[in-house]
Point group: C2
Chain length 480, copies 2
């Protein structure tokens, strides 16, 4: 373990967070909100801790994926711990656990909230709250792509060529270059969404808040009734588009904006993602028209928004889907477990993993009929390694294992089984809203405090794709 | 595909079913119940169809596992179709789908019922209903062990030596020998349970019904309030013991009754099974004492009965667990997904699969830290093949994939999401009772007819361990 490198990276992360607080501070000063003091204090604290760490000398040798796992896990933890301070110090959220929950929910782009009356909060606090989504979204794209060869997520080919072989010291420059390319792309998408929402008639503040939510697939809104409060169909369509875009693999966008569309057309994960979206949208629309008598237009718009919002694990809502017919609820519940694509800001199990799982299962049946047949698992034109297949299969098991274990812990706090299950599923998938006590219009205060802390931990585990956090807490890592 | 062999085997199965109807016919004649006509008719029909098939000449060559898959799938289907006739013809269950549901529930040892007033039925019909459990339990033990090398279920060593290599023609005599040994064992356990229950004070009829339920881990009772109606703690303890025994791998019993206890003590699956039982029982007891103020004795007895009944996927109940505190409900819900041991009459995913899944997941984390390490998955002293690991992982994926898909189909019929989820989970795991609309005291009539048919299909898929039925419906099988 290269400790100096890890500490220096974490120092830089903290300084970056300090800088990210400046826009919220600016808003507080401009609107003369008292919360400015909370921002100043947090910025000073972050600088005080981050600056000495960032000045450390680092040896170039012996830098590998192990350091990446530690940096990723510790970054999200530290960002959330310090990011909770503005809520706590300003008094917007009294209580450390709740402030941490809100910050973790923000940075993991989950969007679950403990706030009962969002609209009563200072605008600067709401802006910081949504900024955390944007930062979290940026972080996860870079993390996923940087750690890709070790996390073994398939279908990401852009930076494959730069992946170093046995020479570990090349990891750092590669991460840096990867990051630079993707920051640019992420900012382009952000600006496009922001401008589009402004043109659709939203004010700048609403545009910023909803852009951060869509681009980071986060889910925080500045209205108690979420996006529904805007009552702006044009803005809804724009958000559907951007949520969908941000649930896709960003390397495909990277090629597309350079005029190379063939990776996009050929990508099997994108095809599945699109197919799931269209199927779910169609099924829910038919269900809403036939059961609730909605007009086709309304049904399509509401179903498209909720489908894309839940599938991309954004969690913004324009309708209370817990009041929909049971079938539509079932579809929404299922979407929570699917999620977006690898290399996006979306959470969940992700489409590419389902492709690999389905193909491997299909192969098992074929092998039972022809025991001697050797059948590789293919994704598009490439053959998936057996190691990756097992990695994905274990991921699936760990995901459901964690889901059941944490659900059980929350039922022990007196929460009913289905609410507990949906709260954990929503947290682990970084979705935000769930069913029952944590339905689309509810907040997480119905879950006891210990349960909220557990949900926050699930958000972190889900965001870091389970393995990262398991490696971080593995005694084996710290011994080696 | 060796068609003559398959047809002959199915003919023998039908004749066997005809013979199995004789005790119920005897009871009908003795008690002068009109249902005797339904039994006579079914027996004649089974003989009429089965006899010509069983007389077919079979070529000895080219007999393999493919035939095994077809025989297994078709046997359960035919047994249930013909086994539904007594219900239908006697008028005990009007409606073909419901009669089929009850028969399928019986033969798959699920124990879910569509009967609203069980106690009003003729005793001969109730006896036949419970006989199906006993037959299903016997069938599954033989099936699992006979098809073991192809289904790749680990931990079953007894008949390993007799597994033929490339010489396919040895499958048939091996199956026959395996079957003979296990029939004996199964009958010994049955007689022991029957006598024990009689001594505990039950009448012969109640003893038979509950023995069939315990030994087949079935769940049908002859009382509307299930085993609770007996109000006999001694009988409850006896049933706990026999349900637990029948949820264990029968090959371990085979060794044990010959005085060789070391396979039993060393078996990792049995250790996990015992650990799960004790942990769940303890947790629920504490929960019942602290939340409902039960005495320690009552809490232990109720928790032990319900824990063992659900874990072994029997489904008999002495208490309505849906009225227990949420944590106890959560534990019961989780147990439904665990199930018993491989090579038992129990359903569910099974303990040995969880052992393999957990060890493989642990290895994934170790591999991320030491990418070059080669770490085999061990079970006790033996190393598990990579093929088996992937087989188990795909099983887990298919299980949850089917669970979600069928749940969605049942929500489309207007059933609430959690009831639909628990009905499918209970059917797929061959448990019987569930939560919500299909709670421990409820029957399946709250689910629409199409949903009941789907549940019956899930029971069959679950009983045949998914792969068997997938192979059966695979076009590849019939082409080759
Ligand atoms: K979200
Ligand atoms: K059962």
């Amino acid at each position: 373990m290269n400790r100096p490198l890890v500490l220096r990276a974490l120092g830089l992360v903290l300084l970056f967070e300090a800088g990210s607080l400046l826009p919220a501070l600016g808003i507080a000063l401009y609107l003369q909100e008292k919360a400015y003091l909370a921002f100043v204090l947090t910025i000073l604290l972050l600088t005080f801790v981050g600056l000495p760490l960032s000045r450390r000398q680092i040896p170039v040798s012996d830098v590998g994926y192990r350091e990446g796992f530690v940096i990723a896990s510790a970054s999200w933890l530290l960002m959330a711990l310090f990011g909770a301070l503005p809520y706590l110090v300003s008094g917007a959220i009294p209580g450390f656990i709740d402030a941490l929950f809100e910050a973790m929910s923000g940075f993991t782009t989950t969007g679950a909230t403990v706030l009962k009356d969002i609209e009563s909060l200072p605008k600067s606090i709401l802006f910081w709250r949504s900024t955390t989504h944007w930062l979290g979204g940026m972080g996860i794209i870079v993390l996923t792509l940087a750690l890709i060869p070790s996390l073994k997520i398939a279908g990401l080919k852009l930076f494959r060529a730069e992946v170093p072989g046995p020479n570990k010291s090349k990891v750092l420059p590669r991460v840096a270059q990867t990051a630079r390319e993707l920051y640019k792309l992420y900012i382009i998408v952000t600006v496009a969404c922001l401008v589009a929402l402004k043109i659709a008639g939203l004010n700048w503040f609403d545009s910023f808040i909803h852009t951060f939510s869509c681009v980071g697939t986060g889910g925080f809104s500045n209205y108690n009734a979420s996006t529904g409060a805007l009552n702006n169909p044009a803005a809804e369509y724009i958000m559907i588009f951007f949520m969908f875009i941000c649930g896709m693999n960003f390397t495909l966008h990277y090629h597309a904006i350079r005029g190379n569309f063939s990776p996009l057309w050929r990508d099997p994960e994108t095809k599945l993602y699109l197919a799931v979206t269209l199927t779910a949208c169609l099924f829910i629309s038919i269900n809403l028209v036939s059961m609730l008598g909605y007009s086709v237009g309304t049904a399509l718009r509401q179903s498209a928004f909720q489908t894309v919002s839940i599938l991309t694990t954004t969690g913004l809502t324009t309708a209370d889907y817990t009041l929909w017919p049971t079938f539509s609820q079932g579809v929404i519940f299922l979407l929570m477990f699917i999620g977006g694509c690898a290399g996006s800001t979306a959470g969940g199990i992700k489409n590419v993993r389902y492709l690999i799982l389905a193909k491997s299962a299909f192969r098992q049946v074929a092998k039972l009929i022809h025991p001697k047949a050797v059948i590789p698992v293919r994704l598009g034109r490439s053959v998936i390694s057996e190691e990756l297949v097992e990695n994905v299969q274990s991921f699936f098991f760990l995901y459901f294992g964690l889901l059941f274990l944490c659900t059980l812990m929350i039922t022990a706090m007196g929460v009913d089984l289905f609410s507990a299950l949906s709260a954990v599923a929503s947290s682990l998938g970084n979705v935000g809203p769930g069913f029952g006590m944590v339905g689309s219009t509810a907040n997480y205060t119905a879950i006891p405090e210990a349960g909220r802390l557990l949900c926050a931990i699930c958000m972190l585990i889900g965001r870091l794709e389970i393995y990262t956090i398991l490696v971080f807490f593995s005694a084996r890592l710290w011994r080696s």
